[in-house]
């Protein structure tokens, strides 16, 4: 409930009643006794996936934004006549996990006026209705067949700037939505197949990067058009009832497969407390969310509580639900269709009102995807992983905390062509994944909730923007220690090139508190960090023919930037950031010393960390000193046994 009069209308349609839909609108349905053969089911459910794939490829081809074309920060969905998600692409998961809520809101509120007709598309970036945050703009289209709504398709992508007080629409100095890009509830962007110029202008006018947003909108429309055409072709070939039966069966299959998996796991409760640090610029606090996942028979019950909304780090119900389900998909549903319309049926969410991860209007949610929602992914990951660890049959599918925060770097200025630019660097897509029960985490694997994401090429950034990379590289000691260590992460370091400098806005968490947690004794990964080396000697180094391989080789005034900052980068200021790796699994003392030594030789682990945390002494030539290792590990065990019980010191 919001305290703002009239705001509650703009609330996600969690409890949808089809009788609220205008009676003039009709929906395609199939007879209860319709029979679908299993071969057709398998062929057509994969065909729907292919349509999704083509929808996503179309979007990528049309958008000119590197956020989309290079880093794949988007997703596409196909849903049934009520918007229940049947299929989505392998990109950012929580883009896809909200569209059912928006579609139901459209059905309820737009069917009487202005109506929902064939050839319409609605645009929405209202987080309270369902968009994860304002940048993640959703374009949704009904698919009609014989005058009835047969299906829905949607395309979502991160638009680089949709207005508001700050670069990239991340209002880090403010407390609420009034300072952010205005949330747009579903409105018709396309009517009878025609892009509505007035609505497009409404969107472009408020952006610092209108040409990019214009292309993004066209890419979303194009993706939807391709999906609509292909669904019509599928209906022509197989018949509407058959295609719809496949949609139904796909969701039923996903639901039953998940329930079956849950029945194989022991009943219990798994809990985690997680944090975001710093709610806005100049803030110095951490904010907590507690999650308990209770597994009873074939159901997962999520109980969510935590601190009240603060600053700009919040998310709404839609973003929270997307964050909760994101780890469920790869860890529990890896071998079944990710048909969320079925998967959600096995999940129940109980949440406190108006907390950081279920914030009421007008809390600041403009960064939700990389704040409250991401944070929700982290706490859910811990609970799901620990639940899987309770089953010897299922533990191989757990993954410890992965790439625990998004290190946002929004910049603007004049580029090397003397033209205005604004962008967000997508290098942190190369985060490290958590360790597994049987193997190390994957180094610089990506983002756990975005399996299809990719880090922008260094060369693409240098071509598009006035920057020269000193390096982007994997970082020693960034992986969480453990019997199986986490995946290492990377850092980037660059200097402005052929420009007077640029304006920066940074925003992240996981800087004061590591948020890629390990499990079963695995250590967390590194923390994130922003630095600027002011008035550096980089030009002198270049003149000497030196390209630094590490920022420690650059001299200048070190400016350690906070988790939420705005600053200018001068032409000789060297910028550095590091994002998070993956958490470890198991006691580091149980890691094979030879594997530790191999990590030292490959510079994933320093010699000092090998000795301190793993208890492995590695000689200068990179081999294990077994005698010294045995002694060091015994010393660590002895130290552990001298510790007291919790509360002893009191």
């Amino acid at each position: 409930m919001s305290q703002i009069p009239g705001a509650d209308k703009y609330t996600a349609a969690v409890s949808f009643d089809q009788s609220d839909v205008d009676s003039e609108l009709s929906f395609h349905d199939i007879p209860d006794d319709f029979e679908l053969d299993k071969v057709t089911f398998e062929v057509l459910r994969h065909r729907l996936g292919q349509i999704n794939d083509e929808q996503g490829t179309t979007l990528k081809k049309v958008s000119g934004s590197p956020i989309v074309t290079d880093a794949y920060d988007f997703n596409v969905t196909i849903g049934d006549e009520l918007g229940e998600t049947v299929s989505f692409g392998p990109y950012v998961m929580y883009h896809a996990s909200v569209t059912d809520l928006i579609i139901k809101w459209i059905l309820e509120h737009r069917s009487p006026n202005p109506g929902i007709e064939e050839g319409d598309m609605f645009i929405c970036n209202d987080p309270w209705i369902g968009a994860v945050h304002q940048n993640d703009t959703v374009v949704l289209a009904p698919v009609f067949h014989d005058g009835e709504i047969f299906s829905w398709v949607s395309s979502t992508l991160h638009q680089v700037d949709v207005g508001g007080n700050e670069i990239g629409s991340f209002a880090i100095e403010d407390d609420d939505a009034w300072a952010e890009a205005e949330p747009v509830p579903p409105i018709k962007l396309v009517e009878d197949g025609e892009l509505k110029a007035d609505i497009e202008d409404l969107f472009l006018r408020k952006s610092r990067s209108a040409p990019d947003v214009g292309m993004d909108l066209r890419s979303q429309i194009a993706g939807n058009n391709v999906a609509i055409d292909r669904i019509h072709a599928l209906i022509d070939q197989y018949g509407a009832d058959t295609v719809k039966a496949v949609m139904r069966e796909t969701m039923d299959y996903a639901e039953e497969s998940l329930r079956s998996r849950l029945r194989d796991l022991p009943d219990g409760v798994w809990r985690h407390v997680g944090y975001q640090d710093v709610a806005k610029s100049d803030d110095r606090s951490v904010y907590e969310t507690s999650l308990a996942i209770e597994k009873r028979d074939d159901r997962l019950i999520f109980n969510v509580d935590g601190d009240a909304p603060a600053g700009v780090i919040n998310t709404t119900y839609a973003g929270m639900r997307g964050g909760l389900v994101a780890p469920v998909l790869p860890m529990l549903c890896h071998d079944m269709p990710w048909a969320l319309g079925g998967i959600y049926r096995a999940m129940e969410i109980n949440t406190a009102d108006n907390i950081m991860v279920n914030a009421a209007y007008p809390a600041g949610t403009g960064m939700a995807a990389v704040a409250g929602t991401w944070h929700t992914v982290n706490v859910s990951t811990q609970c799901v992983s620990k639940m899987l660890s309770a089953s010897e049959e299922q533990e191989e599918h757990l993954v410890a905390g992965s790439s625990g925060s998004w290190v946002t770097m929004n910049v603007l200025g004049m580029d090397q062509r003397d033209e205005f630019f604004v962008t967000q660097f997508m290098d942190p897509m190369a985060g490290g994944w958590g360790a597994r029960s049987h193997a190390d985490g994957i180094n610089t694997a990506g983002i756990f909730a975005a399996p299809g994401g990719a880090a922008t090429n260094v060369e693409s950034n240098e071509l598009a923007y006035p920057m020269l990379y000193l390096y982007r590289k994997e970082e020693t000691d960034s992986a969480g220690a453990g019997k199986h260590r986490g995946g290492a992460t990377a850092s980037m370091c660059y200097v402005p090139h052929d420009t007077e400098g640029m304006e920066h806005l940074g925003s992240t968490f996981g800087m004061a508190v590591p948020t890629s947690q390990g499990i079963n004794g695995g250590h967390p990964a590194n923390t994130a960090r922003y630095e600027m080396i002011r008035d550096s000697n980089i030009r002198e180094l270049f003149e000497d023919g030196t390209m630094p391989a590490d920022r420690s080789e650059v001299e200048g005034e070190l400016d350690v930037l906070p988790p939420k900052y705005k600053t200018m980068q001068g032409p000789d200021d060297v910028y550095f950031s590091i994002w998070q790796g993956g958490g470890g699994y198991g006691d580091p003392l149980e890691r094979d010393p030879e594997r530790v030594a191999a990590d030292v030789r490959q510079e994933y682990v320093s010699r000092e960390e090998a000795r301190r945390t793993y208890g492995v002494v590695v000689d200068e030539d990179g081999t294990v000193d077994q005698e010294a290792t045995d002694a060091r590990r015994e010393e660590i065990r002895s130290d552990r046994l001298s510790a007291g019980m919790w509360g002893d010191e009191e």
């Binding site: 022991p266 009943d267 219990g268 409760v269 809990r271 985690h272 407390v273 944090y275 640090d277 710093v278 110095r284 606090s285 951490v286 907590e288 620990k386 660890s389 309770a390 533990e395 029960s437 970082e475 020693t476 000691d477 960034s478 969480g480 220690a481 800087m511 004061a512 508190v513 590591p514 947690q517 499990i519 079963n520 004794g521 695995g522 250590h523 967390p524 990964a525 590194n526 923390t527 960090r529 350690v560 906070p562 988790p563 198991g586 006691d587 580091p588 149980e590 320093s606 000092e608 960390e609 945390t613 065990r637 002895s638 552990r640 046994l641 510790a643 007291g644 019980m645 919790w646 509360g647």
Partner: protein
């Protein structure tokens, strides 16, 4: 229950040494050895939180009292009780 702990006859026991830790419904962390350390002890690239926030945070490590196996870690506010993170219902 997890990699290190099992539930046997309604009790949480260490898989490595058989140490009887507590009843299945209890929080095993309250019956384990515990070290409370600065966050920076969690890893070489873990920042000092005092640079960024005023809250007191800590890195906790819980060990089996019998064999010193590292059962679990916590990254948590210093005034927060240990989280009962794993509770498997025993029939």
């Amino acid at each position: 229950m997890d990699l290190h702990l099992a539930i046997e006859d309604g009790r949480v026991v260490c898989r490595s040494c058989g140490e009887d830790i507590c009843a299945a419904e209890e929080n095993y962390k309250l019956h384990s050895l515990c070290e409370r350390k600065p966050l920076t002890e969690a890893g070489a690239l873990v920042n000092d939180p005092a640079v960024y926030v005023d809250d007191e945070m800590e890195f906790r490590q819980f060990y089996c009292p019998g064999c010193a196996t590292l059962l679990e870690n916590e990254v948590i506010k210093s005034d927060h009780e240990p989280v009962h993170d794993k509770q498997v219902f025993s029939e």
